[in-house]
């Protein structure tokens, strides 16, 4: 019976667990959230009444490096899940650690950029460019930071043996979140930094 009960509430109409399906749904909602932030940035492009203007301050090389770090953190995420699913606990923890470190590297580089831009006179209040740029990228950074916390908790729980191969879906869903945050950054990188 115990087994039947467990099967009873894991069997879903789609075969996808509620947790994963619900999380996909939440990510759909997040798309609209970031979509609105990005649209606002695009609408306000070129409306800043005072400088500095994007072309004057963006350092595409610097941002390309931070972007690359964030993108490759997705690979680390995939490896962490892979090793957890194959019951290689320590390797899973190691790769989650790499995810966190790469996320931290991204954040550090991005805050270096912030400091530089603020030095040039671009602040939250200086122009429509400043307001829409900082709120958009700041919201993304908060997402990255939250993801790092999540990975940290997962790594701790794997270490304590609370999450093992049968519970790998917890890491898989956290991975969905992490990949989503990466993909959003690709969109931001393209629209904000690459398009003149």
């Amino acid at each position: 019976m115990a087994h039947a009960a467990a099967a009873d509430h894991h069997a879903t109409n789609t075969g996808v667990s509620n947790f994963k399906l619900g999380f996909w749904t939440f990510l759909a909602s997040e798309c609209l959230f970031f979509g609105t932030l990005i649209s606002t940035y695009m609408v306000y492009k070129g409306t800043a009444l005072v400088g500095p203007y994007p072309a004057e301050i963006f350092d595409v090389i610097h941002t390309t490096i931070s972007t690359t770090i964030l993108l490759f953190s997705s690979l680390a995420m995939v490896l962490a899940l892979h090793y957890l699913q194959h019951a290689r606990k320590n390797l899973a923890i190691l790769w989650l650690g790499v995810v966190i470190a790469m996320g931290a590297g991204f954040l550090v580089m991005e805050f270096q950029s912030y400091q530089k831009y603020i030095g040039y006179g671009l602040t939250l209040t200086s122009s429509t460019f400043g307001s829409s740029y900082y709120v958009l990228t700041g919201t993304h950074k908060i997402h990255v930071f939250f993801g790092m916390l999540w990975m940290g908790i997962l790594a701790w729980r794997i270490h304590r043996g609370k999450i093992a191969a049968p519970q790998a879906e917890q890491v898989e869903v956290a991975g969905l979140y992490w990949h989503f945050v990466d993909i959003i950054w690709i969109v931001i990188f393209t629209l904000v930094y690459l398009i003149p």
Binding site: A6, N18, F26, G35, V43, T125
Partner: protein
């Protein structure tokens, strides 16, 4: 036909395993209890919003009155609109989602029971927080649409607008969580054989509404974040002197705001699509068409927002597009109206109160729909914009549509919830006072609006010659207020001593009527096997289903644990958002800590009993 089910029905609501008492309600994750709390809370807010409306009507009864100050008037209409939409119409629909959807699809609960409880507590605390503004004398005063630059710190320097944007942000979390929950529930948790195209229409419309919630709410969330940053940290999103564009607010608000209109109306459409077939004793006419029309409304609802903004001057191309889209969306809505009429046609109709409210909706909503088509035309709209004609229009669709549908649902599902009927006699009084009061209040506003009476102004000149329409409206509002009191009296009386109802008192076709009234806390002892759209109307299928649904569970089904983390997390979220008011970044950052803590504890707590 239903006598078999009626006689068998046990009327004991608290079967084994269910606890009572205040703590059990605070920690409950049972969708049925959460539904009852949603309904009760929304009804209380309905009276709060109603009192605000009554003061407005008294002030407007005669021209050039000074019962209340212009500032207080601004607060009243702002709070009336915000309350009625976010604290009444939406949560009351969610009450029905909660109670009915799991029962209709044959599930034991929603997909995320704790998240469901969280939604309720956030709604409650967000509503209390919004209304707390009255007690510090700073109720929001820039209308429910909060147009920039009225809401800027320059033109609204006090706490008023802070209360508004913060409470709406809080309430948005509840809506997104609810949307995620119901989409997952409906996609994943249907009983065997309950295919999508066999689902009752109420479940279908909940499904469409949930998609609108998860897509529309993030847009206003971002707009509110911009507004908050503008007010507290000096960003320039809506500051025209710095290149900001106040029209951006209007776009973002209405990109949310128009889907919101369908968030309000689609649940009501769902209710009456279940009620009308039941009381006509005929399957819904053109079931797939009604489903597709609902989906189509959900889609097109995303492409009409600028019809709220024709007076902005977006140019002829944009205006033409939105005129066309707005007129097109009338088509699926009209299709539904004809489906309901065709369902009734030739049926053996029983005019119960639920049926009266449903038919009332069809009639009254159509009036609102017609005036909607009138100001879908941009040139006509320029004449009517911001006049009482518009006030008449949207009350016809929201009160005459959404609320009437929900009241139909109240009379229809109350026997399932309580095991007792609402009094039909009081119900008739409720319906007719509603019809008379509602129409007397809002029909004259078409005239006062066309004669030039503007909205949101605390008084009007006697020279406008609209006093008579306003007096009629005030008398109508008094009658309407009486109808609301009758409803509450009916609920309270019937809950205690109403006539007992069996499992399927209306001889209705759907799964929620296959289980005892009130249901066991686990809903279904065993999951039924569904073979058609009207399972209880097909003799063989009915016997087969009742055989498994009317008994007691042999073994206690696997139900989720109660939890106090939803209420604690909701409280900490409300606190964190309230601290945003200080505008001091480190206080705001500190406020996040309890949110993280509660989220973490929630994540570590097992949702289901362990040991298997």
């Amino acid at each position: 036909m239903s006598s078999v089910a009626t006689e068998q029905s046990p009327v004991h609501g608290t079967s084994h395993g269910e606890e009572t008492g205040l703590w059990s309600w605070i920690t409950t994750v049972d969708h049925k209890r959460i539904a009852i709390m949603y309904f009760a809370t929304a009804t209380i807010f309905f009276f709060v919003g109603g009192i605000e409306a009554m003061i407005i009507r008294l002030q407007l009864m005669n021209p050039e009155q000074n019962l209340i100050s212009p500032e207080f008037y601004n607060q009243l209409f702002t709070m009336h609109g915000t309350t009625m939409i976010f604290l009444v119409a939406m949560p009351m629909a969610v009450a029905f989602f909660n109670y009915v959807v799991p029962l209709q699809i044959g599930a034991r609960d929603v997909a995320f029971p704790r998240l469901n409880a969280l939604s309720y507590w956030i709604f409650l605390f967000g509503g209390i927080y919004l209304n707390a503004s009255w007690f510090v004398g700073a109720a929001p005063h820039a209308s429910w649409v909060g147009y920039a630059t009225l809401t800027s710190s320059q033109f609204s320097p006090g706490l008023n607008t802070d209360f508004w944007f913060i409470s709406l942000s809080i309430l948005g979390i509840a809506s997104i969580a609810g949307g995620v929950n119901f989409i997952t529930t409906i996609v994943n948790m249907r009983a065997p054989g309950m295919k999508m195209m066999r689902m009752p229409l109420f479940t279908w419309m909940t499904f469409v509404t949930s998609f609108l919630l998860i897509t529309a709410i993030p847009v206003i969330a971002v707009a509110l974040i911009f507004l908050g940053f503008d007010r507290l940290f000096g960003t320039v999103f809506f500051n025209p002197t710095m290149g900001g564009d106040p029209v951006l607010w209007q776009h973002l608000f209405w990109i949310f705001g128009h889907p919101e209109v369908y968030i309000l109306i689609l649940p009501a459409f769902g209710v009456i699509s279940d009620v009308i077939p039941t009381f006509s004793k005929k399957p819904l006419f053109g079931y797939p068409i009604v489903v597709y029309a609902g989906i189509l409304i959900g889609f097109i609802g995303w492409g009409v927002w600028s019809h709220h903004m024709f007076t902005v001057g977006l140019g002829p191309i944009a205006d033409s597009f939105f005129v066309a889209a707005t007129m097109i969306i009338a088509i699926p809505t009209g299709v539904k109206i004809f489906n309901w009429l065709a369902t009734m046609w030739g049926g053996s109709i029983r005019f119960t109160t639920a049926m009266l409210f449903s038919v009332g909706l069809v009639a009254v909503f159509t009036v609102g729909g017609l005036s909607g088509i009138m100001h879908a035309s941009a040139p006509v709209n320029l004449q009517q914009h911001d006049s009482y004609f518009v006030v008449a229009h949207f009350h016809y669709v929201i009160v005459g549509g959404a609320m009437m549908g929900l009241w139909a649902g109240l009379y229809y599902w109350f026997p399932k919830v309580s095991g007792r009927f609402l009094s039909e006699k009081l119900g008739q009084w409720h319906f007719w006072t509603t019809m008379v009061g509602f129409n007397l209040t809002f029909f004259p506003m078409h005239f006062s609006g066309l004669f030039g009476m503007p909205r949101r102004i605390y008084t009007y000149s006697a020279d406008l010659n609209v006093a008579i329409y306003n007096q009629l409206a005030t008398v109508g509002a008094l009658i309407f207020a009486v109808s609301a009191v009758i409803m509450v009296v009916n609920i309270v009386k019937s809950w205690r001593s109403g006539e007992k109802a069996g499992a399927n008192p209306w001889d209705a076709p759907h799964l929620e009527w296959s289980i005892p009234s009130p249901p066991h806390h686990y809903n279904f002892p065993e999951l039924p096997n569904v073979q058609s759209r009207e399972p209880l109307w097909n003799a063989g299928e009915r016997e087969q289903i009742l055989a498994v649904t009317m008994g007691e569970a042999k073994e206690e089904p696997h139900m989720p644990n109660p939890s106090y983390w939803p209420i604690l997390l909701a409280a900490s979220i409300t606190l964190a958002w309230a601290l945003v008011m200080t505008g001091v970044w480190w206080i705001i950052a500190l406020g996040i800590i309890p949110v993280f803590f509660c989220t973490l504890m929630w994540g570590l707590e097992p949702a289901f009993p362990e040991g298997h």
